[in-house]
Amino acid sequence: MGDIIRVYWTLLLRSLGQTMLLTLLSLFFAFFIGLLFGLMNVSRNRVLNFFGTVYVDGIRGVPLIVLAFFIYFGIPTAVQAAGFSDFRLSALAAGIIALSMNAGAYMAEIFRAGILSVDKGQMEAARSLGLPYGISMRKVILPQAIRTMVPPIISQFIISLKDTSILSVIGFPELTKAGSIIVGNTFAALEVWGIIGIMYMIVIVTLSRFAKKLERRLNVSNGG
């Protein structure tokens, strides 16, 4: 086991970095996708509700691996067939799009729940002051919603971090892919997957600890 780490530590750390990069970028985009569709789903406009629901149900109804294949293999083929013959999509770009869309759907539900958790009287008070819906949402509702959303957002972060391993199938050099490569070279499956598992665990446990702390601090400042 020590040998494997000594020989492959740069590859392991670099792929862990790729995993983190993919997760962070995806979560960043997923936040805005979630905000957009979450707002659509709490609005009183039926058309917006419809499209919001279609997106959330549609994405949640498709396994991430299928979505990743669709984007990585399907979309370039279609674009090339449409005449753009040198169109390419990198594994990183395809991975970010797939993971952002996937996490965005769950994030939309987190936003929806967060917004609905704010007392109805807050929106009424804001509107009764003559503030338009958008300003009321931005200045009064969302700042309060975000507080209740911190724990589910971090748990989504952890889920997305683990989901990046699925993207090894499109050849993205993240941690799980690195595991396959090292096993291929060394045939030491037990040790390698053990090391990979522990690396994921260290990052995720650290994140959960941080989440708990943050949650406690938010509860304190919300108290009273």
């Binding site: 007392d119 009287g121 807050q122 009424e124 008070a125 804001a126 509107r127 009764s128 002051l129 003559g130 503030l131 338009p132 300003i135 200045k139 009064v140 700042p143 309060q144 919300n222 108290g223 009273g224």
Partner: protein, 259 residues
């Protein structure tokens, strides 16, 4: 019945401008009819107190005036502007009507002063500087300028409601609506809120107050409206309603609350 009542009750202020005009107002929540046809005119400077048993539609009536409830049928005009007309800019109408809620609804993530400043700043009616000065002078008026930088969760109920009143005055509205402003307060805090409301009334504010505070109604109201089961049953001066009520339902209700 109320259209006739209006002419009699309002003889003392009949020359004043009609601030709130309500004609045939109906409101249904799905199958449930809450307001079944309300007529009322409220004139400039009037303090109208609405009383009645719970579930009689008082709060809904009030919430129809600033469009917080969608109106099923009838007309509500605020200072000439038709609330039921989809072309009316409701935000503009609401700038002219302050509303105070039973549960205060202060914004807990903003300081007291920020609560008061929010509307004038966001609506670009005042600069931050002007809004801050206006906010401080309003807080002074309700006796809470020392709490400007405090967050609402640290205030008592009575203080919260006084801040809420200051907040709703920030845009200099001509009309103020109060929806059971003292019902959620501990008894010892009712007085300080009523005090602020009285001084507003004395300043000539047009007010519409849903309340169970009969003492306040007797002292301050220019007119009392008694509602039951979605109708205005009886209206008149406090003297008329409290000392010589005509309708049986009014008498029954007053017997219950005054005993």
């Amino acid at each position: 019945m109320s259209a006739m009542g209006d002419d009699i009750a309002l003889n003392q202020s009949a020359d004043k401008r009609v601030m709130i005009h309500i004609d045939g107002l109906k409101k249904n929540f799905d199958e449930l009819e809450v307001l079944k046809g309300i007529n009322a005119d409220i004139r400039e400077g009037e303090v109208v107190v609405i009383i009645g048993p719970s579930g009689s539609g008082k709060s809904t009536f009030l919430r129809c005036m600033n469009g917080l409830e969608k109106i099923t049928a009838g007309v509500v005009k605020i200072d000439g502007r038709d609330v039921t007309d989809p072309h009316t800019n409701m935000n503009k109408v609401r700038e002219n009507i302050g509303m105070v809620f039973q549960h205060f609804n202060l914004f807990p993530h903003m300081t007291v002063l920020e609560n008061v400043m929010l509307a004038p700043v966001e609506l670009k009616i005042m600069t931050r500087q002007e809004a801050s000065e206006k906010g401080m002078s309003l807080l002074k008026k309700v006796g809470l300028d020392s709490k400007a930088d405090v967050y609402p969760p640290q205030l008592s109920g009575g203080q919260k409601q006084r801040v809420a009143i200051a907040r709703s005055l920030a845009l200099n509205p001509d009309i103020m609506l109060f929806d059971e402003p003292t019902s959620a307060l501990d008894p010892e805090m009712v007085g300080e809120v009523l005090q602020v409301m009285k001084s507003l009334a004395r300043g000539g504010m047009t007010m519409c107050v849903v309340t169970h505070e009969i003492g306040f109604a007797k002292e301050v109201a220019s007119r009392v409206i008694f509602m039951d089961a979605g109708y205005i049953v009886e209206e008149g001066t406090p003297e008329e309603i409290f000392s010589r009520p005509k309708e049986k339902r009014t008498i029954d209700f007053l017997n219950k609350v005054l005993s």
